[in-house]
Structures are given as C-alpha cells and as structure tokens.
Homo-oligomer: 218 residues x 4
DNA sequence: CATGAATGAGACTTCATTCAT
DNA sequence: TATGAATGAAGTCTCATTCAT
C-alpha cells in the first residue's frame, strides 16, 4: 500500500486526450485534483469555490459547469476517494479467505496510507466529515468482512451496526492521530489488534491476525 | 445522568445578580447559551455572529465586548460543555474506586446524555470538530481511569495514546450514531463492553463492568 | 379570428426544405419560435441567450450566427409578431370600406386574439415594452383607418397624434387587462365602443360599429 | 401643478435631524431619491442595486439594510410616488364637487406634471410598468371620481373596470408621448376631452370640463 | 457597556461572448 | 455552420467589524 502505484491526484498529467468531448473529463478531473489538494489543507466548509478555480487554474465560471454547490463537489471528491480506496483494498484482499483477516488488512492499509500520503488522508477525513454519505460508503466495505468473520467464528459481536461504527470510528481516529503526528511504530498493527479484540476475537488471534504480513508490500 | 436535573443552557436561570458587575456575566452566559442553541442546529463555521446577536437578543456590537473571534466563542462554548460534562461525570464516579468502572461510567454517560439531550450532543460534536483543543480536553478525563484500570489489572493495553484515541473515537462515534438516529437499546452498554474488550479486559469482566448499574439514575 | 387556423409559432412546421440553404431559415425560425415561448413566460430583459439556446435546442454559439444582440432578437420577434398580426387584420378588413369600421375590426381582433392566445399576447406586450420601435409599427396600421374615418365623417378628432396614442394605449391596456384575467364578456366590443366615442363618433354609431359582426368567425 | 412647491427628491436637503434613529429614515430617503434619479434614466429591471449604492453614495452592503430585492425597492419608490401624487391631486381637487371635473383635473395634472418634471414622469412610468401594484394604486384614485361622475349624470359608461383601464391607459399613454417629446400645446386638455368622451360625456360637456381652469396655478 | 447603521472585502452566481474543434 | 467548454466581467449578497451615539 505504501507503494500505491501512483497517486493520480497531484497534477494528474494524463495524456493529451485530443478528442473533443474528452476535454470535459479532463477539466473535471483537474477540478477534483485541485479540490483534493485544497481539502488536504483546509476544511471543506472553509473552501471557497473561487479558491478551487484558482487552484485548478480555470476561471470562476468554469466551476459551475461541473459542480453547482460545495456539497456536490465534496460528494464527487468523496466518491473518487472511496473508489480509489476500495480498488486498492480489494486488490490486496483478493486471495484472502478469512473475513477477520481481510478486515485487518483493510484497516491497516487505511492507516498506513494515512502515513504514506497525509494529503490524501487529510482530504479523506475532511470529506468524510462533511459528506455524511461517505461514511456509509466506507461502512459498506467493512460489512462483508465483518459478517464473514462472525460466520467463521473468529469474531463475536452482538450488534452489527455498533461493530461497524466502532471499526470505522477507530480507524478514522487512528488516521487523525497519524495526521496529528501522533503515530507510533506499528500503529496500524496496534490499532487493528484492539479493534479485533473489541469485535470479540481472542487475544491470541487478535495479535496474530493483526500482525500478519500484508499481501503486497511490507 | 439521564435525570440530569435541568439543562442549564436554555434561558440560564442565573442568580438574582445582586452586584452590578454580574450583568456582564449574565450577558456572557446569554451569548454562550445562544451559541449552543445555534450550534445544535448548524455548523460552527456556518454560524454568523450576527445570527448569534439575534439569537441572544443583543446587538452585533455587543458580541465584541465578549469574544474577539468566532474561534474564541467556539472555545468558550467548548469549555462550558466540557466543564459541565466533567462535573456530572466526576460527581457520579465519586465513590467508584475501580478505574475500568469509572471509565465505563464515563463512556456510558456520554452516550446516554447524547440520547437524552440531542441538542447538547449535536453542539458538542460540532464544537469538537471546530475546536480541535476540545478533543484533548475530553482525553484528559479518560486518561486517569485508563491508567488506574491498567494498574489494577483489569485493563491491558500496550500504548496509552492509542488506547485513548480508541476510547474517544468509539465514544464520539456512538454519539454520532445516536444523533443519526441509529441508537439501539442499551447502546451505551454495548459500546462500552466493546471498548473494554479492546482495552484488554476479559470477556467476562467487560460484560460485567459495562452492565453495572450507573451510580445515580438508571 | 378566434378560429385563427393555427398558431404558426410552436414547432413551426415549415416546408420540407428542399434547398440546402433553407436550413438556415429553419434554424432562424426555430430561434424566433423559442424566443416567443420564452417571452410569453418572462421578461425580455430577464431572458438569457443561453436559455434561448436551450429552448431552441441549439448550442449557445449558434445564436450568434443569427442575432448579434438581445435587441436584435427582440426586434426580429417584434417584427414577426407585427407582420403576423397585420396579415390577419388586413385579410379580415379587405372588403370593408369604412375607416372607422376597419379600425374597430382591428382593435377588436387585437383584444380577441389576446384572449385566444395569451402566450402571443404576453410576448407581444413584453416586446412592445422592450422594443419601443414596435409601438410605432402598430400605430402605422391604425393611421390609415383613422384618417379614413375622419374623411368619411364618422370620426371627429382634433389631433391625429393624440388620437393614435389613445387608440394604441387603450387597446394595449385592454390586452393587459385580458392577460391579468380581468376580461369580461364582449370586452372587445366595449372597449372599441369607448374608443370610437373618444374619437368623436356619435353614441349611436359607436355602439353600432363596435358591435358589427366580424368579417370571418363570429 | 407646474408650480409644485418643491420636488423633494433631488438631493432632499432635509434638516440635520441629529437624533439617532432619524438617521435610518434619512438614509432610506436618500436611497429612494437616488432610485428615482436612476429610474428616470433607465429601466427598473436594468438598474443594478450597486448602481443605487453608487448613486446614493452608500456602500453596497447598506442597500440590504433597507431593501432585500429590486422588487422591494421598486415598490417603495412606487409608494412614494403615488403618495406624493395623490397629495397634490387631492389638494387641488378639494373644493371641486363634480366627479367628472375632479377626474379631469387629475388626468390633466398628471400629464402636466409629466411636462414639468420629466424625470418624475419617467420614473413613474417605469415603476408602473415594473410594479403592477402601482397600477391599481393609481386606479384607486380614479375610481371615486368615476362613480361620482356616473351618479351625477355627466358620465355614462357600462363597465367600471373597462372605464378605469381606459382612463389609466390613456393618461399614461399621454405621459409617454410627453416623454417621447410628442407633446403638443394643451396636450392635457385634448387628452382629457377624449377620455371624457369615451366615458360617455356629451361633446359639449367634455369640451367644457376638460378646458376649465385648474384650481391653482394654470 | 450597549446599540445598530454603515462599511467593504470577499464569496457566490450568472451570462454574453469567444473560439478551437 | 454548429458545437459547447471556457472565459471573465458584472451583479448579487453576506458578514465580520467599526464607530458615533
């Protein structure tokens, strides 16, 4: 995950894409990239659409060809972040059959990515906060693993919703800690172990699963 | 806690104000009360100071006699919220010697209060987000109990900072769930049990401690 | 007149366009039709050219191949409205030799058309207001009849300009009344009678001429 | 009427009015005066509120302390114009018992005032057009005289609404003519005579009543 | 201290117009 | 010619902040 192929955000070179209607897509992507850069520096609510224009080097009017409101922008950015995230996680979890383990991989990647790409993490955290929809998007990714873990007997929790909340809260909490510079070595492993414990894994299994080497990279 | 005597915010009874200079305190309190009401409805950043003036029924200029910036206001509101909260918790935990138990009481009260007074909770969540300092304020209340729990052998965690983060994240996550209308019966007990598990308590102890009757009320 | 064959505006049937260069004419007509629909709903000044493009289902750039400014557009629409109106009136007045009677026919048709096609009337009123030139266009149609009426002794007015103004003002006033939903039965007849009186017709003649059956339809 | 005591609009000197809350009234009046000046030069719809700020020499924000929209401004201006107008007319008509004669006085004053103060007239015409409410305001002044004229036997019309429309349309039409520079000597008298004819007065009475000397100043 | 009118910077939004395709 | 993305000037509106009373 640390070696995430290439962050497509900053500047996204992209080939010329000379054909006419591709221009729109390119501009849109440029706006999303710019928004991400801004959101990594400042709160969504504090971001003026005119700032976005400046950052993306388009004129003010252009923004409105793509996003009518700040909410719409945030949602689009959130969608992009979520897709990107899910792709990476899914890839890495492909060969893993254990739900608990897939969950652990997801959480750890999430936290490691925050360390590797603070800009991404910062934007993600802010968008999650601003666009409540993203919250449930992330939750969706977790749910399957949670259920699988329960079915296979590794996890033992009484309420799915609460379990979900805890996983997401703890993981984003760890991201914030990372962004605040409070990360410690193996931060991802430690947090994951605690989450597994909370979900009812035995101490031994929690420790073991949390510490398994990640499929690719490290 | 559910029977918290009376929400001191709306209308702020205040003593008869025998001394002349108490008027200042009363005006200030009126502003804080108004801010709380506003923050329970809308984001801190989206709250105009002129709105505050209207809500508090003072003129715009008056605000500047009390708060120089929106940040200062938010901080003051946060402080008020935190003090109020800590008082209540501390009161209730007075006779409890076990750290883990005091922690459980605190977390549960936090969540129950969110159910009992969504306005308070909503404002709290928003202020926490706007004024990052509050986060550490809340953490401060947790730390002692955490250490005591560790010392008495009930809890077993490897990193204090991570443990702290997890407790606070999970607790505020539960608050948000409550505000989103996703609370379930015994929500406070369930979340607390999971937190205790995460902190290394045995399943039996976690279950027992989380479910103990709250000192007053319940 | 009430049974005016078909409003040529919406959809503009247009001939099959055998010649290539008829496409231009068709596009232009489409723009005029669209403008008329828009002007019937909203003020000329409040109508954005981009709205016109949408309504006419052409792209924004295309408009500039036909009209350089909003004024030019309004004038073209006004011209179309005026021609259309004059044609109809002229047709109906063909066999009528009395000036006063032709005048009466014109005024009545004007008002009846406002009842039959409020969209047309609304656009007309707005264009008249925006493009002052139209005012005199309408006046032109009246002048001949006015003079004939004077010559034949039916009408008796001292100043031609004032008479013209009165006729046009009263007629458009009646249109507005119609658009405001204040029309009454025989509105056209009543107004016409008063106009004839104002122009110096005797009470008997005014009554009679105003009430004569219209050449075609009713 | 030509000797209308003093146009309170341009610059309205007004005494210092030192007391605090009078300032608001003074600013408001300044805005109305400025609006009138603007409306005399350009259409209401074409008048930017910022222009008003410039003309009134206040900052943009100040406008919004008084008028939220252009409509509100137009209405306020219309109200001021109407009051002013009604005062003058009422004054002059005070000792006149005949309805037809009062009507004649009103119409004539209206037209003469347009000659004497084109700025006022221009603004009035534009506001009437923009703020339909004014139309009915003016109508209100006419209605009584119309009914009195009917009762006393001088006038003879079949429909009150139509009569009203005709009077107002013809009078404002004459104003427009004046503004367009098409006024002729005794314009007011001529138009009034035609209106009286339209309302069913005999030729003799119409001529006589329209030509009576105006109560004050001729 | 309280008041609230005035300020003006700055964000939002629309739209006539251009221009590369 | 038609297209429609991009532009940027211009207008709308809000709000933190000041200041005379």
């Amino acid at each position: 995950m640390t070696d995430r192929p290439a962050s497509p955000r900053p500047e996204s070179p992209v080939e010329p894409l000379t054909r006419g209607h591709k221009k729109r897509a390119r501009t849109r992507q440029g706006l999303l990239d710019a928004a991400l850069r801004l959101f990594s520096r400042q709160d969504v609510a504090a971001t003026a659409l005119q700032e976005l224009a400046t950052e993306a080097e388009v004129s003010t009017g252009t923004i409105y060809n793509y996003f009518r409101t700040r909410e719409e922008l945030a949602e689009a950015v959130g969608l992009a972040l979520a897709s990107e995230f899910s792709e990476t996680i899914t890839e890495l979890s492909e060969g893993v059959s254990s739900g608990a383990q897939r969950l652990a991989i997801g959480v750890r990647m999430f936290i490691r990515q925050a360390q590797a790409d603070p800009q991404w993490a910062s934007a993600l955290v802010r968008v999650i906060h601003f666009d409540r929809a993203m919250h449930s998007k992330l939750a969706g990714y977790v749910l399957n693993d949670l259920r699988a873990g329960l079915a296979e007997g590794t996890l033992r929790y009484t309420d799915e919703g609460i379990a979900l909340d805890l996983v997401v809260s703890a993981a984003t909490g760890a991201m914030r800690a990372t962004l605040d510079g409070r990360a410690i070595p193996d931060h991802d492993v430690r947090v994951t172990e605690m989450i597994l414990l909370a979900l009812g894994a035995t101490a031994a299994k929690a420790k073991k699963i949390a510490a398994l080497p990640l499929p690719q990279g490290d």
